[in-house]
């Protein structure tokens, strides 16, 4: 549907803010370079204050970068005001115009583009059909539920057929169930419209569900960029591993290395690992173990003491101590399995393939 899918490129972008308390300048975004391919769905993910919203607002034009240049479809857009940029934004608070009905909200941008009435009507009707609000043109915005307002906000942005669609935590005001439905909807609509989308959220499961690529930001810099799988299975730092999903960190050192494989010593035990990358023998290393990729068993790599055992329905939740390190384990479908109790001694068992070395 979009006239032209556009890519977004950020080259060494920085934004400096003044801390209101200390009066000191700090980098809200620091030397960030990104290349977002046309038609892809990219999510900026990170904790609050990591610079993700600032980055988005720089793309939209509400903030001006202090360093670097932003390109939209190959054109530098630093000097363009938001109204001159081929971007459309879906706001966290939806920001619908409360004095207009749905039709006028969606038609607002089209009217500014001086389209004739018939075209506007067709376009609005089509887009309302796409977001599932057909027949509701005359409703006022305060007569809508949160989810419906969200759809209007989306329609209003989509109807402009922008080169890139920007989302600023659009689902954070919805309840949990609706959030799940809406993120699927957003993904479907983006795919149907074939539009480039940049999406900001602090909700990692939302990011995983919706994105082609996730960019994890930490303190103003990109911590990692990749597909959801890359980021989940091969996190580049403890921050990323911890932020996406849950992770246990087992610290030790590499004692042997053969090609890509090796053996690490963790808490006095030898643990076989795969894909040790650049590590050399004697290097300290951290094994990232996802709670669902390990089990408790009578035999395994690491002896442990169970300190918490809790039935959660679909899984049994364990906290065990491996030496001084607490390890969380989720054992799915515990029915008909041996359940360990607090105080039991057992082993943490896992497939070396499922361990990522940092």
């Amino acid at each position: 549907m979009a006239k032209e899918k556009k890519g977004v490129r950020l080259e060494h972008i920085s934004k400096i803010y003044k801390d209101p308390k200390t009066k000191k300048d700090f980098y809200a975004v620091h030397d960030t370079s990104l290349d977002i391919e046309p038609g892809s769905f990219v999510t900026l993910l990170g904790p609050s204050g990591c610079g993700k919203t600032t980055t988005l607002r720089m793309i939209a034009g509400f903030e001006s970068p202090d360093e670097g240049e932003i390109y939209l479809g190959g054109e530098p857009i630093n000097a363009l005001t938001p109204n001159k940029r081929d971007t459309a934004m879906v706001f966290q608070s939806y920001a619908l115009l409360p004095h207009y009905n749905i039709f006028d909200n969606v038609a607002y941008g089209l009217k500014l583009r001086k389209m004739d009435k018939e075209t506007i009507k067709t376009k609005v009707t089509n887009i309302l059909g796409l977001v599932g609000l057909e027949g509701m043109e005359a409703r006022m915005t305060n007569q809508l539920s949160g989810g419906q307002q969200q759809r209007v906000a989306l329609a209003r942005a989509l109807v402009l057929e922008p080169g890139v669609l920007l989302f600023d935590e659009p689902l954070s005001n919805l309840d949990a169930k609706l959030r799940v439905t809406m993120r699927t909807e957003i993904r479907r609509i983006q795919q149907e419209a074939g539009i480039t989308a940049v999406y900001v959220t602090h909700d990692q499961s939302e990011a995983m569900a919706i994105s082609d690529k996730i960019i994890i930001m930490e303190k103003g810099v990109v911590a990692q960029m990749g597909t959801p799988q890359e980021i989940y299975y091969h996190p580049k730092s403890e921050f990323v591993a911890d932020f996406i999903g849950e992770a246990n960190f087992l610290r030790g050192e590499l004692i042997t290395k053969k090609g890509k494989d090796g053996v690490a010593r963790i808490n006095g035990m030898k643990v076989e690992v795969k894909d040790v990358g650049d590590f050399s023998i004697g290097d300290p290393c951290t094994l990232v173990l996802r709670p669902e990729s390990a089990v408790i068993a009578d035999k395994g790599q690491l002896p442990c003491d169970v300190i918490l055992s809790c039935f959660m329905g679909s899984y049994q939740n364990y906290h065990v101590m491996v030496g001084d390190t607490m390890v969380k384990i989720t054992d799915f479908n515990p029915k008909n399995k041996k359940v360990y109790e607090v105080g039991d001694r057992a082993y943490v068992a896992f497939d070396p393939q499922n361990v990522h070395v940092l």
Binding site: P65, D66, A95
Partner: protein, 569 residues
């Protein structure tokens, strides 16, 4: 870290918006020329004499006994009026918010009391005070048989000003009290405090900064007030009247300028304390909204005395106002109580009433929409945009609030009678209707701006951003989004500006030329002459005009306003 690129880009984006840039430039020019410049010229006048720069003029005026007395007089009145108004205001607010009112009558009285000062010219109470308690006063002469009561002077001014200004305090305190979360007080009650204990240990400490705020606001109003001391002051001169007499009676322009500077300094200091210290404090202590309805006090030992006290006060205020139309209907106030329409007739036959109403009406009618629009534009710029001169615009438009009308009037005389900086530039302005309109605008701008700012702060910034993002430029955003969303505030600003203009006197009386007859100036003139019948007739018609304007506004807001459609969320 260099922010230069970001700043440069922001600048570039800013200048890509010619309408906004032009607006800001015009605005800065207007504020500078009509607020800052007249005040600056007063400073120049009072420090620079033929002998060079010095304190000569100040030494001269400080040597005047009557000026020194005027300073103490003004401060004494201001202090008393400030305290009395704040306390009475608090009483009314407390009764309304905390006490269960049994009667419809009392509720009605409260509404009237809060409404009256909005619609009435600020000095009508002086008229009624004289008519009720003066030598020929109905109460003093006919009820109490006191034949030589002197209402003129300190107590006259203090009582009249208190009754004029306490409703403002009442509105301010009501807002604060409503914002106190009732559970705070319930918690104190629960821990064993008595009702009086709760008031002293919880409620009062919470609203103390607000009470101080109300005191200072009234204090400033009182010392800036010109018309009441003029009518009821007698020989008790305040700063505002002394300055007026210094320029109209003694033709001492430098002396008047220096006196104006003294008055301005007092109000400015008060204003700065009020604005930057107390106002911040009073909102900081009360941030939350009441979580639920307050349990109203039903204890008769509390409700009865409070209700009686408030009713008496409110009835007294009403009586004062009712006096005005009756004053216009009696043949000779104090002597002959036959009803007559002769005063109303004389207003139009002998005293060019039509011209007076037309002039006042037309000038106010022109200035009101300009004021309203200007204050909405200023509020928009202050709240929603960021640019270098923003601080200047905000500060200067708020500064106008602290400038007494008399000071502004003198500033305009000195600043424009011989053109800007005595160069003859814009000299043509002086003595025209245009300069009167400008004075009206400047005098009403701060109130409008303040209400616009608070209305705009409630609008989510991203609503305008979204319009901007969809392709609207600043002007379109303002016209299609901002203005419709603050329509109520705009309408009330429009009417407030109209009412304030048509009832204004302090600055205008210094600037008006014989070609314009203004109602307020007429009332003042007749009241001073003792022609109360005519003065009351003028005042009655004026109150009718302002009252209808306010009613009309309420009607328009009710049917076309934004409130019902979407304000709830």
């Amino acid at each position: 870290m260099a922010k230069s690129q970001g700043a440069a880009l922001d600048r570039k984006k800013f200048f890509a918006d010619p309408i906004m840039v032009t607006t800001i430039v015009v605005l800065i020019a207007f504020l500078t020329l009509f607020i800052l410049y007249p005040l600056a010229i007063l400073l120049v006048d009072s420090f620079v004499t033929d002998q060079g720069i010095g304190l000569g003029v100040f030494k001269r005026i400080m040597a005047m006994k009557n000026f020194r007395r005027a300073i103490t007089n003004t401060l004494k009145v201001g202090f008393l009026v400030g305290i009395a108004s704040a306390l009475i205001g608090l009483l009314f607010a407390y009764v309304e918010v905390y006490v269960k009112l049994k009667t419809r009558l009392l509720e009605g009285l409260f509404k009237v009391v809060s409404m009256l000062p909005v619609v009435s010219p600020p000095f009508v109470l002086s008229l009624s005070m004289i008519m009720l308690f003066g030598k020929a006063g109905i109460i003093t002469r006919y009820l109490l048989h006191i034949y030589d009561n002197n209402v003129y002077g300190f107590w006259g001014i203090a009582i009249v000003q208190t009754l004029t200004f306490f409703p403002v305090c009442y509105m301010m305190m009501r807002g604060l009290l409503k914002n106190i979360d009732p559970s705070l007080e319930e918690a104190a009650r629960d821990m064993g405090a008595s009702r009086w204990g709760v008031f002293m240990t919880v409620t009062l400490p919470l609203i103390l900064p607000g009470l101080g705020n109300a005191f200072l606001v009234t204090f400033i109003e009182s010392i800036a007030d010109f018309a009441n001391p003029m009518i009821i002051g007698g020989s008790y001169d305040t700063l505002a009247t002394t300055i007026y007499l210094q320029i109209t009676g003694a033709y001492d322009k430098e002396g008047a300028s220096a006196m104006a500077v003294v008055l301005l300094c007092i109000t400015l200091i008060m204003f700065i304390v009020q604005k930057y210290y107390l106002e911040a404090k009073s909102t900081a202590t009360l941030s939350g909204k009441a979580s639920r309805q307050r349990m109203l006090i039903e204890d008769r030992s509390v409700t009865i005395p409070l209700t009686i006290l408030c009713s008496l006060l409110a009835l007294f205020v009403c009586l004062m106002y009712i006096c005005v139309p009756f004053g216009a209907l009696f043949k000779t106030w104090g002597y002959d109580f036959h009803l007559t329409t002769k005063w109303f007739q004389q207003v139009f036959t002998r005293y060019k009433g039509f011209k007076a109403f037309k002039d006042s009406f037309v000038l106010s009618f022109i200035s009101a929409p300009i004021t309203a629009l200007l204050s909405m534009i200023i509020s928009y710029l202050v709240v929603k945009r960021s640019f270098k001169a923003k601080g200047f615009i905000e500060a200067v438009s708020m500064l106008a609030m602290a400038v007494p009308g008399t000071v502004l009037g003198i500033g305009y005389i000195r600043g424009f009678s011989a053109g800007v900086f005595r160069t003859g530039f814009l000299q043509g302005l002086y003595g025209t209707g245009t300069i009167l309109v400008i004075v009206f605008i400047v005098r009403s701008l701060p109130t409008g701006t303040r209400s616009g700012i608070s209305a705009l702060r409630q609008i989510d910034k991203s609503i305008e951003e979204s319009a901007y993002d969809m392709g609207a430029d600043s002007f379109t955003v303002f016209m299609t989004v901002t203005l419709p969303l603050i329509k109520d505030s705009f309408l009330s600003g429009l009417v407030t500006a109209f009412v304030r203009s048509i009832t204004a006197i302090s600055a205008i009386i210094l600037l008006v030329t014989p070609q314009f007859l203004l109602i307020t100036v007429q009332i003042n003139e007749f009241a001073e002459k003792g022609a109360y019948g005519i003065a009351c007739a003028f005042a009655t018609i004026l109150i009718l005009i302002t009252y209808s304007a306010v009613m009309l506004m309420n009607l328009v807001i009710k049917y076309f306003g934004t409130s019902r459609a979407y304000k709830e969320d």
